[in-house]
């Protein structure tokens, strides 16, 4: 067994949606109180990054489950409860991240974010904090009986909140199995999202690279397409999460899926770069971009192609390990 596993990665990454979110929300509220635009931009970027990192945090949780399920004292109900609470937190964190990105986009487009966008992000980020705190607390209960409200395992299992039970892996898997059209519909949505996302990724990045007639576009105008790319990404994220939660055994400990997630996170960082940094915004018609901007553009195209490649190779490039039933 390797010295560092995805279970270790989960222990490391789970600090991002917890401590990272506290930091990002505090920064965000401070920027609003001080009416500081630079601070606001940084805090919105931080919220977006937390949302990106929440995906691998959630997904590595399944590898952590595989690692501890044969340990004495392992409790499936408590693990399911943590997982259900994590699903709920993940959904709201992702909506918060989308709101933060929309605010960043509006700041670029109009010079300032819309008031309703900021209010939504305030409300959503506070709800995210509450949900992620609960998920973290339930996660702590799995391996730390000393911090449970009771030392009696059965009593702790009986106290699992009802609202998280419907969001556990078996419950969602059962819905997908019972309604056979859910999976094919998600496949269609996933591929339409892919086309939309890749179209926008190609246009924006080929413009930065100065390819052909696309060089005749002003970056500010090209950027208006970005919400459509984000819409495509949202389709992919929702359908992708249905696949993952319905069949975690296919994706957990799968080398190709792990590489897909790595490419996805890095691609997210390049998207943030293109939204936050000023130099691209000075790119007028037929203007040339800097080397860094071109590198980021080439990297983004490569990373999204990597996401496609590794996504399609999930059944073939497994890496040998098997998660078994989850």
């Amino acid at each position: 067994m390797p010295a560092v596993t995805l279970a270790h990665a989960h222990l490391l990454l789970n600090h991002v949606p917890t401590l990272g979110l506290i930091f990002a929300v505090a920064l965000f509220l401070l920027s609003l109180v001080r009416r500081n635009d630079e601070l606001l931009r940084a805090s919105l970027g931080a919220l977006f990054l937390v949302a990106i990192m929440a995906f691998p945090t959630f997904m590595t949780g399944y590898a952590a489950r595989v690692a501890i399920r044969s340990h004495p004292g392992f409790s499936q109900p408590l693990t399911d409860a943590h997982q259900g609470a994590a699903v709920m937190a993940l959904i709201v964190i992702e909506i918060t991240g989308a709101g933060a990105w929309a605010a960043l986009w509006q700041q670029r487009r109009h010079g300032f974010p819309r008031k309703w966008t900021l209010i939504s992000v305030v409300v959503l980020s506070l709800i995210s904090l509450g949900l992620v705190t609960r998920a973290a607390n339930l996660g702590g209960d799995i391996s730390h009986p000393e911090i449970r409200f009771t030392q009696d395992l059965h009593e702790a299992e009986a106290a699992v909140p009802n609202d998280v039970k419907g969001l556990t892996t078996p419950a969602i898997s059962q819905i997908v199995t019972n309604y056979r059209y859910v999976w094919p519909i998600c496949e269609v949505v996933h591929f339409i999202g892919l086309a939309l996302l890749m179209g926008v990724v190609l246009v924006i990045n080929l413009r930065v690279l100065g390819v052909g007639t696309l060089k005749g576009m002003d970056y500010r105008d090209v950027h208006k397409l970005l919400p459509w790319g984000v819409a495509g990404f949202t389709f992919n994220a929702i359908s992708g999460m249905v696949f993952f939660i319905a069949q975690p055994q296919t994706y957990t400990l799968n080398l190709s899926f792990d590489l897909k997630m790595l490419a996805f996170v890095l691609a997210g960082v390049t998207v943030l770069y293109q939204t936050m940094f000023d130099e691209l915004w000075a790119l007028t018609k037929y203007g040339g971009a800097s080397r860094v901007a071109k590198f980021m553009a080439a990297a983004q195209i490569t990373l999204w192609v990597g996401v496609l490649y590794f996504g399609r190779m999930i059944p073939y490039l497994t890496g040998g390990a098997e998660a078994g039933a989850l």
């Binding site: 591929f191 939309l196 190609l202």
Partner: protein
């Protein structure tokens, strides 16, 4: 037709790809087909959205390079799509969804040629003005048919 489909499926090319090493045979064809979808449907989506007014005022003429990417993806997918069909001809050849995909593809390409025509015609002007309703209708149909290509393409695996 069943005999023809069986003959296609039994061709050495079909059996060698279907039976070759997993990473470089069927899987690779599948990956290339997916990248082809990104190169065809992606630019189609952006060009159609621009004709519907998204991203105005960037000039329509600046999108002409996208046609190169589209045709690279289209030719690539014609090749990989044919290979995928040959490998499962007896099953896919009897699936109505496959023919629905071909119909969507045909109309999708026809609509795209009209989009191309609109972009070329607009290139002679400043390219940022309001577009006629007929052009916008073509853009909507283009989006619908290409969404149809993806939908029917994905559903081939789930229907008989």
């Amino acid at each position: 037709m069943s005999g023809f489909f069986q003959w296609l499926e039994d061709l050495p090319l079909s059996t060698s790809i279907a039976g070759s090493d997993e990473l470089y045979g069927f899987a690779l064809v599948l990956v290339l087909h997916t990248i082809g979808i990104a190169l065809t449907a992606g630019p189609v989506a952006v060009m159609s959205l621009r004709l519907l007014g998204v991203g105005r005022p960037f000039p329509l003429a600046s999108l002409r390079t996208l046609f190169t990417f589209f045709w690279i993806g289209f030719i690539g997918n014609a090749i990989t799509g044919s290979l995928l069909f040959m490998m499962a001809a007896t099953r896919t050849g009897h699936n109505p969804m496959y023919y629905a995909k071909l119909v969507c593809l045909l109309f999708g390409v026809v609509m795209l040629r009209r989009v191309h025509h609109a972009i070329e015609r607009d290139s002679t002007q400043d390219g940022t003005g309001a577009l006629r309703r007929s052009v916008m209708a073509v853009a909507v149909l283009c989006l619908v048919f290409w969404a149809g290509v993806i939908t029917t393409g994905r559903l081939i695996a789930y229907t008989k």
